[in-house]
Amino acid sequence: MENAFANNRLTRRFAALKAEDRAGLVVYVTASDPDLETSAQLLAGLPGAGADIIELGMPFSDPMADGPSIQRAALRALASGACMNRTLAMVKDFRKTEADTPVVLMGYYNPIDTYGAQRFAIDAAAAGVDGVIVVDVPPEEADEIQPVLAAHGVAFICLSTPTSDDARLPAILKYAGGFLYYVSVLGITGTVSAAADAVAAAVARLKRHTSLPIAVGFGIKTPQAAATVARVADAAVVGSAVIDRLAAGLDANGKPTPRAVPDTLAFVADLAQGVRGARQ
């Protein structure tokens, strides 16, 4: 498995981060939120603002694992005409100017299943996607998609949670590629936050099971919180707090104001500063 991804951008990026002795910042945004143009502008600005890895949400009508911020982002995106073709096209456009920053698509299985897992794997790889997170495909159902993604050099990124105990982890790691995403709290995105020592203990436990990098997410809302995670994990993932900044830049009709993108990127830069300074 490791060899198949030796040249994957995720592998290269984590190796570079390790050489710098710092954690990475993973930034989540929803594709086409609030519309294609604004979203593409934001995406293009993320590497410059300090995002080391980008998670691009594939909008879904029923985001069962997401809190209100990302739910609303998905609804805004869908209302503006978001669809799988458009999400993949966004990545393709992004790759025209940015060759190195890994892009991970994140979402739910039904839009992928509808698109066709095989076709999705081919088109995602061709667009320049490096990994895929499918929230509602646990290891028990991973045979549906992991092999076709791997065949096209796209990592199937698995989630582990506080309920994934030592007995269960091998089942997850059997399929995991790219990095292991540790969901640090019991709950949905953008709500409660984990205690620092609990995160440290969890990362240490996961490290005993895998050599994959560990990214920690859920409930990280500030540069300080991102820094705390960055001291112990290989990457910190911030989603809802970024979406909230973007949403704050929308007018009463949900249309973006001129400050929407710059304000959001400024917040990402603050997060990046927190993450980069964490181990100094």
């Binding site: 029923d62 698109y115 495909v137 709950g187």
Partner: protein, 403 residues
């Protein structure tokens, strides 16, 4: 997966009915789903569990429910003999309580101390609130704000029973959104909370477990029919939203080739309009709420909203076993409109002195539609899954009557 001539082998050990079903849930929930499966397997092998369940079904729910010959409707149609399985006479007024008794006993066995549920029409919410009151467990019911507005009596009943009813405003604020919200609650409260799903949907083992708790409907009917008519019915009719009363009635008869089986979906304003809940007839397989099944969705895989005058049927999916039975050709799925269901509601009320739920009225409508063209010796068995008291406001509104 199926042996020749057997339609009762599913699901397999991974919860699949052919290509349907499965466990498409977030990793946080996976260990819970696995432990639920283990606990259910142990409970179903334990005679003490069955004995306890039977005690409550007999003395609390009031089972067996009667099998009733609808003599005047039969005469009015002038054809097949129409029988009703009277699930409306259960405590709380619908078949939903059968499943709730089973699951609450399981939750107690697992040491869970908090119960959550989703509800559409409110029947499952009322049944859940009822069993929670019976055992003194705190209960949170998620209900779409749209449904709350049209099912006020049931909302108040749940509150009287001590449940907290949490309005859900996301999406179209109906059953699908309530189920999303219940799953979000479950993910956040995995330690103490039991999610009491009301239909044969959700991740494995729910579709199998809920079916097992509902199959008493068909088992009783079969025995009662043998006693009253000395033979099996010729055809079965049941409304299908998620499909729990339908699978409950059908299951025992699946391997009886002489029995024609018909599931009735809600066609709302018409199956060819945008406003319907015909998931099997008009949908396409996809993955939602933990399983692969027929869904109403766009070409991009976004789930669309279902519509029916009956709040209990407007779910954009269906239990995975129904999807499998459809593909296998064992069950025929048809649909009837709001108008046809309302007509059946009125005819049953005036002709038989029984006020059926709007959900059940869909099954009755299909039976009434075909009864006249069938011979007098044909025996029809219709699931009268619930009573219609909760629907009188909706019916009045449809009639243009202000209460």
């Amino acid at each position: 997966m199926t042996l020749a001539n057997s339609f009762t082998q599913g699901p397999d050990e991974r919860g699949h009915f052919g290509p349907y079903g499965g466990r498409f849930v977030a990793e946080t929930l996976m260990p819970l789903v696995l432990s639920l499966e283990k606990a259910y397997d142990e409970a179903s092998a334990d005679p003490a569990f069955a004995a306890e369940m039977n005690r409550y079904l007999t003395h609390f729910v009031g089972r067996p429910s009667p099998l009733y010959f609808a003599e005047r409707l039969t005469a009015a149609c002038g054809g097949a003999k129409i029988y009703f399985k009277r699930e409306d006479l259960n405590h709380t007024g619908a078949h939903k309580v059968n499943n709730c008794i089973g699951q609450i006993l399981l939750a107690r066995r697992m040491g869970k101390t908090r119960i959550i549920a989703e509800t559409g029409a409110g029947q499952h919410g009322v049944a859940t609130a009822t069993v929670c009151a019976l055992f003194g467990l705190p209960c949170v019911v998620y209900m779409g704000a749209t449904d709350i507005a049209r099912q006020q009596p049931n909302v108040f009943r749940m509150k009287l029973l001590g449940a907290e009813v949490r309005p859900v405003t996301s999406g179209n604020a109906t059953l699908k959104d309530a189920m999303n919200e219940a799953m979000r609650d479950w993910v956040a409260n995995v330690e103490d909370t039991y999610y009491l799903i009301g239909t044969v949907a959700g991740p494995h083992p729910y579709p199998r477990m809920v079916r097992d708790f509902q199959k008493i409907i068909g088992e009783e009917s079969k025995a009662q029919m043998m006693q009253m008519e000395g033979r099996l019915p010729d055809s079965l009719y049941a409304a299908v939203g998620g499909g729990s009363n339908a699978i409950g009635l059908f299951y025992t008869f699946l391997n009886e080739p002489s029995v024609q089986i018909v599931g009735v979906e809600a066609a709302g304003l018409g199956a060819d309009t945008e406003e319907h809940a015909v998931s099997i007839g008009k949908g396409r397989p996809g993955v939602l709420h933990g399983s692969r099944t027929y869904l109403l969705q766009t070409g991009d895989g976004q789930i669309t909203e279902a519509y029916s005058i009956s709040a209990g049927l407007d779910y954009p999916g269906v239990g995975p076993e129904h999807s499998w039975l459809k593909d296998a050709g064992r069950v025929t799925y048809v649909s009837v409109t709001d108008a046809e269901a309302l007509d059946a509601f009125h005819r049953t009320t005036r002709c038989e002195g029984i006020v059926p739920a709007l959900e059940s009225s869909h099954a009755i409508a299909q039976a009434l539609k075909v009864a006249g063209g069938l011979p007098r010796e044909h025996i029809m068995l219709v699931s009268l899954s619930g009573r219609g008291d909760k629907d009188v406001d909706t019916v009045a509104k449809a009639m243009g009557v202000k209460l």
